[in-house]
Amino acid sequence: MGGYILKRIVSLIMVLFVVAVVDFIIIHLTPGDPAAVILGSHASEDELARLREQLGLNLPITLQFAKWISGVLQGDLGWSIFMNMPVTQAIYEHMGPTLSLTIFAEVIAVVFAIPLGVMAANRRGSWIDQGLMILALLGISLPSFLIGLNLILLLAVQMNWLPAAGYQPLSSGIFNHLKYLILPAISLGIMQGALIARMTRSSMLEVMNENYIRTAEAKGLKTRIVLYKHAFRNAFIPILTVIGLSFATLIGGAVVIETVFNIPGIGKLIVNSVLRRDYQVIQGAVLMIATSYVLINLVVDLLYAYIDPRVKYEKS
């Protein structure tokens, strides 16, 4: 197990280095620069040139990269020109809303998707199965912002039950905090839930053709026991993969939903930083997301062994 983790971590560092290089190149190839954003559209070229020099934007790109990457290796992701604070602090401040939203959305997705997926698999071919899968297909196909805007229109503007946009930190009270997250979490959860429900169904169907399920049924066990204790546990590995991936995706900031609901999370930080050309924030945030993506994948792989004792990493 230890050797396996070590191997994974080495490859993880290589992946992250490639991400850092590609990320840096793409951002610096994009036209536009922070000086123009800071000074406004009617600033003269002389003033722009002066600020560029002061900010070190005139340095050769290789030198800028070397400076940045050596900082990263020492745990310093750089400095946000626009927010005038360390990138790590900017990411930290924007992480809270994204984490809350991610967890809430994931809970909504899992709580609804897994029972519905199991139910659909159990009644394969029935109208319930077909109806659920049509709903799931809709959930995957409908863009989340469309769901979000409709929810705002219905539940916020028309009914005035929930706030239309914004964010309140956990420190303002749990209800206040959740109140602002319900609509965005549902908008996000629907899509992730639909994915998980479909995966649950197909994974369950595969397992339910196995001999041991027939044996369990022949023993006269209750359907529910057969479904959850015998079938579901064996079907869970691919489902877990999907949950892990969807969690990783959400951690990266639900860019669109955060914009629609004006939630100051990582997605919004990245979009704003791209618009402002706040280079080091974009680089730092992308690197952070890549890191969490590979880490979550690693954790999911390790969880396989826990869920399914047959999986052993030592020999691989």
Binding site: P31, S41, A156, A165, G166, L178, N272
Partner: protein, 531 residues
């Protein structure tokens, strides 16, 4: 196990509903004024939450030309002199304006008892430090004060010594965009390349907190010394009638509107014109058409390429049908006005010269001019951006009108920062559509004076134009100056470095309990109350 899971499921559903019902009972909200909670449908807190379309890059007003910085900043900072409702320069932090007989000395005694937000009394030293920094950083400051020395005559008097009389110094000091605001000397001295480290002014609101991507919080400044004269434009009495003022960047227009409808925000700027009917029909909202606010202009690359030839620019000007461009941009005639003036009708500087060159809609004349200029179908690159919907739509119409007179148009659409950086280079573009804020006096018009190097160094340069502008700057008599401006505007319409398309208004909306709202030049919230 099954029962346990079922229990958890029911619990989650219940919690969601409790959350919902909490939202429907605004009175159960906490009313602790130190806590930032959501405003209920009826305003019970003396605060104002303003949804803006963008976040400012900084609040250091000396530093940037970004209009949004001024929208927030002018609540914190004040000017020596300002503009009244007729756009005339009147004192603000200065007690009065004294101009010597030869016009070469302007003496500004300061109002006594004005303190900064840090408790320090304002003196002439602070003013000198502020004006010198501003003069270095802003192009308005540089052109107006280049031959002017600012000194402290005594503790409470500032003196401007001019080489020759000038009509532009005072309007420049009063102009709010990248304005000559007064900050404490120590703050100026502590500034680095990023800007000042603290936002300390003398205004009716003081800076409290900036939570990036969430809000900028200003608080009422208890020690504010207001003028007693009635409010007029930016001048006269200013009073913070709310305790807390929040500027919340909400880039998504639909969210801005929805948040206003639910009471999450009390005021929203830049409502899309398409939503005019929704705002008008909502019984809780009051809408307001802001005018004058800006004009749209089609900006040529006069340094290089096809449009360095004035004849070809004239051809474009002859061809354009301003009404259809403005209609495309706004979608509603309530939001624009066709006007040829470089200054707005509401301003005393407004003149009629060059009117015949505006909105000609004359295709045959345009084709004739193109032929005379020797245009051979070289492709013309027009930059556009979807970041500003009205500019994008206007750009499309302009492009099609140019194609009609036989120009080969190549539209390139980028995000706004890319567009700005592209237009800063000599090559790679020929024209783009943008907008200009209100100017306090004509020589501030950025594209007339080649010494502004805008949009690129070496842009439109006509010695006669420079001579006229300098003459105007040296004329202290208003009527005399206006006469020269008549020639300036006529010459502008001949040379057309930029084609003025039309005056465009803005749409803002607020909850009904927002009282006494007045619009002048841009959004401001002193003297505004909530009930």
């Amino acid at each position: 196990m099954r029962k346990f899971l079922y229990g958890i499921f029911v619990l989650i559903i219940l919690v969601s509903f409790v959350g919902c019902s909490q939202a429907t009972q605004p009175t159960s909200e906490t009313t602790d004024p130190n806590k930032n909670t959501t405003p209920p449908p009826i305003k019970d807190k003396n605060e104002l939450r303003v949804a803006m379309s963008v976040a400012p890059p900084t609040l250091d007003m000396h530093k940037t030309t970004a209009v949004v910085t001024q929208q927030v900043g002018w609540h914190i900072f004040e000017f020596l002199v300002t503009l009244d409702k007729d756009y005339k320069v009147v004192p603000m932090l200065a007690e009065k304006i004294e101009i010597s007989g030869d016009g070469k000395t302007i003496t500004l005694p300061l109002r006594k008892g004005v303190t900064f937000h840090n408790g320090k009394a304002m003196t002439a030293q602070d003013v000198v430090a502020s004006l010198n920094r501003w003069k270095q950083m802003s192009s308005t400051g540089r052109s107006a004060l280049s031959k002017t020395t600012v000194t402290a005559k005594d503790e409470m008097t500032v003196q401007l010594s001019l080489e020759q009389p000038s009509s532009t110094v005072l309007p420049a000091l009063a102009y709010p965009v990248q304005g000559a605001v007064i900050m404490p000397k120590e703050v100026i001295e502590g500034a680095d390349e990023v800007g000042v480290k603290e936002y300390i002014g003398t205004g009716p609101f003081q800076f409290a907190e900036w939570k990036q991507d969430q809000y900028i919080h200003l608080k009422k400044f208890a020690g504010y010394q207001s003028l007693s004269e009635p409010t007029s434009g930016l001048a006269g009495k200013k009073e913070a009638k709310v305790d807390d003022l929040y500027f919340i960047p909400v880039p998504d227009a639909a969210t801005r509107l929805a948040g206003l409808q639910t009471g999450e925000y009390d005021f929203a700027d830049e409502i899309p014109f398409d939503n005019y009917d929704i705002v008008k029909n909502d019984p809780n909202l009051t809408s307001y058409v802001t005018k004058p606010r800006r004009y749209n202009g089609f900006i040529f690359n006069t340094k290089a390429g096809v449009f360095s030839n004035a004849k070809i620019r004239q051809a474009v000007n002859a061809a354009l049908d301003m009404d259809s461009i403005m209609m495309a941009a706004t979608g509603n005639p309530d939001f624009y006005r066709l006007d040829h003036g470089l200054m707005h009708q509401e301003q005393a500087w407004y003149v009629d010269s060059g009117k015949e060159q505006y909105n000609q809609k004359n295709e045959s004349k345009a084709k004739e001019l193109l032929k005379e200029a020797g245009y051979k179908g070289e492709p013309v690159t027009i930059l556009g951006s979807k970041d500003y919907e009205f500019l994008y739509k206007g750009t499309l119409v302009i492009a099609s009108q140019l194609e009609k007179i036989g120009m080969k148009v190549n539209l390139e659409i980028y995000d706004w920062p890319t567009l700005i950086s592209k237009r800063g280079k000599e090559e790679g573009w020929n024209a783009f559509l943008s907008y200009f804020p209100l100017f306090a006096e004509p020589t501030q018009t950025i594209f007339l004076d080649s010494r502004n190097n805008w949009p690129v160094p070496g842009s439109y340069h006509n010695p006669k134009m420079l001579m006229l502008l300098d003459q105007m700057r040296a004329t202290s008599d208003f009527e005399e100056g206006k006469k020269i401006f008549t020639d300036v505007q006529a010459l502008y319409w001949e040379d057309v470095p930029v084609i003025k398309i039309g005056d465009m208004y803005g749409l803002i909306a607020m909850r009904n309990y927002v009282k006494d709202y007045q619009f002048f030049m841009d959004i401001s919230f002193w003297n505004v109350a909530v009930q």
